[in-house]
């Protein structure tokens, strides 16, 4: 009987000791390390056929499923970062009225209370966030190739979408040809340039030549 207690006792002590010495991977990550940069593109798109782009001066902020336009200092930093990266890979910025080949939409997602948002389904509501009329194509819808990232978004995320405006009239749709998604901790409190550059750096096909 004594032996049984001894065995049970030592097994329990050992068990607790072992579980407590297991490394917790999340506590070993800095905010920078916690972030992932996901890119995806429409393989039928010829990125060098586009020359000009236009970017909205505000972003769409989706707070638990409700969208509105925002233009905070953080949003402006991301807009400036995308503008600078697009220029760096050879695209020329023009005014929205001057028939840009590519439109750029930036979306900030805060999803603390509604649970999980699946990224692919997100495009279903895309027209609700971005009025196609903004790009001069009222009546058209948005279309995303179904190969795009299937990520569930739990907390915060930032997405950058490049839209094919050049072929919208022919396609009768505004096709989303490239998507960059940033997820993780500290997206909105860290350097926007570094984060946006990471997305462009891993997309070598995204350039004018």
């Amino acid at each position: 009987m004594k032996t049984t207690y001894l065995l049970l006792g030592s097994a329990m002590v050992l068990g607790v000791a072992l579980i407590s010495c297991t490394k917790n991977p999340l506590s070993k990550l800095t905010a920078e390390e916690s972030r992932i940069y996901v890119t995806n593109y429409d393989s039928s798109a010829n990125f060098s056929s586009f020359k000009t782009f236009s970017i909205s001066d505000s972003i769409a902020y989706i707070d638990n499923g409700v969208s509105r336009k925002e233009r905070t200092a953080v949003d402006q930093a991301f807009i400036a970062a995308v503008r600078s990266q697009m220029s760096a890979v050879g695209y020329t910025e023009v005014n929205r009225g001057n028939s840009p080949d590519v439109g750029v939409n930036i979306t900030r997602i805060n999803n603390t209370s509604t649970g999980v948002l699946v990224y692919n389904n997100f495009y279903g509501g895309y027209g609700g966030f971005y009025d196609p009329f903004y790009w001069g194509y009222g009546g058209f819808g948005y279309a995303a190739p179904n190969s795009f990232a299937t990520f569930a978004i739990k907390e915060g995320a930032l997405t950058i979408d490049l839209l094919d405006l050049k072929d919208a009239a022919v396609n009768k749709n505004i096709n989303i040809i490239w998507t960059g998604l940033i997820r993780g901790s500290g997206i909105f409190t860290s350097n926007a340039n570094v984060q946006v550059k990471a997305l462009f750096d891993q997309s070598p096909y995204l350039r004018t030549n």
């Binding site: 297991t22 999340l26 990550l29 995806n40 190969s147 990232a149 891993q202």
Partner: protein, 212 residues
């Protein structure tokens, strides 16, 4: 592999059983063995998942002395493998790329039936060498994190191990109680998540206790 190990264990057990009680056993037939375990992944485990040696592990075995030269026991253990890889870009789909810091972890709980052979039997000696052979299963917790986003997979797979070591009794009156030192080759079946096996080589130091 599986069949041959089962066969060897069966042969060892039957040889031991025929010799049972033919010699005197000193002390209690029940022994407890507890040890600290260091484990180094090898093969596909090392190449495809984690190449860092784990210093977070333990082993335990409740052993029954069938005869002075042979014991069978129920062995359990725990090992925590962890590795963080620097940021890199991974291709995760046709056109999809993810830049992430990759963290791989695996927790193993091996549960085995093990036979241990002491060539010197219960004769008093400064050091008593032993060899062991065990077979059972690993309870496996696989986790992979891209940044802070993780996936998890639990499974149980066949496991076997072959080991050798030495028991150093505290003094001549405590023949079965003493320090132990050992090394094991561990075979672990696994064929998921791009990992072909979870084989490892491990080293342990511990205590063997003759239960009263």
């Amino acid at each position: 592999m599986k069949k041959s190990i089962t066969a060897i264990v069966t042969i060892l057990c039957s040889v031991a059983a025929t010799q049972a009680f033919s010699q005197d056993v000193v002390g209690n037939r029940w022994r407890l063995q507890l040890g600290y375990n260091v484990s180094a992944p090898i093969g596909s485990f090392k190449n495809d998942f984690i190449d860092k040696t784990s210093f977070r592990g333990a082993t335990g075995e409740l052993r029954y002395i069938i005869n002075p030269k042979f014991a069978v026991g129920l062995a359990g253990g725990y090992q925590d493998f962890y590795q963080k890889y620097p940021r890199a870009v991974y291709n995760t789909g046709d056109n999809e790329n993810i830049s992430a810091v990759l963290t791989n972890t695996m927790q193993l709980i091996p549960i085995m039936l093990r036979g241990t052979y002491f060539p010197t039997g219960e004769k008093q000696a400064f050091a008593k060498p032993f060899v062991s052979l065990g077979a059972g299963a690993n309870v496996i917790t696989y986790k992979q994190y891209l940044g802070e986003f993780g996936s998890r997979d639990n499974s149980a797979r066949f496991a076997a191990s072959a080991g050798a070591g030495v028991l150093i009794p505290f003094n001549k009156y405590t023949n079965g109680t003493g320090f132990t030192l050992g090394a094991n080759y561990n075979y672990g079946a696994y064929n998921k998540n791009g990992i072909g096996n979870i084989n490892s080589v491990s080293f342990n130091v511990g205590l063997a206790i003759e239960l009263k």
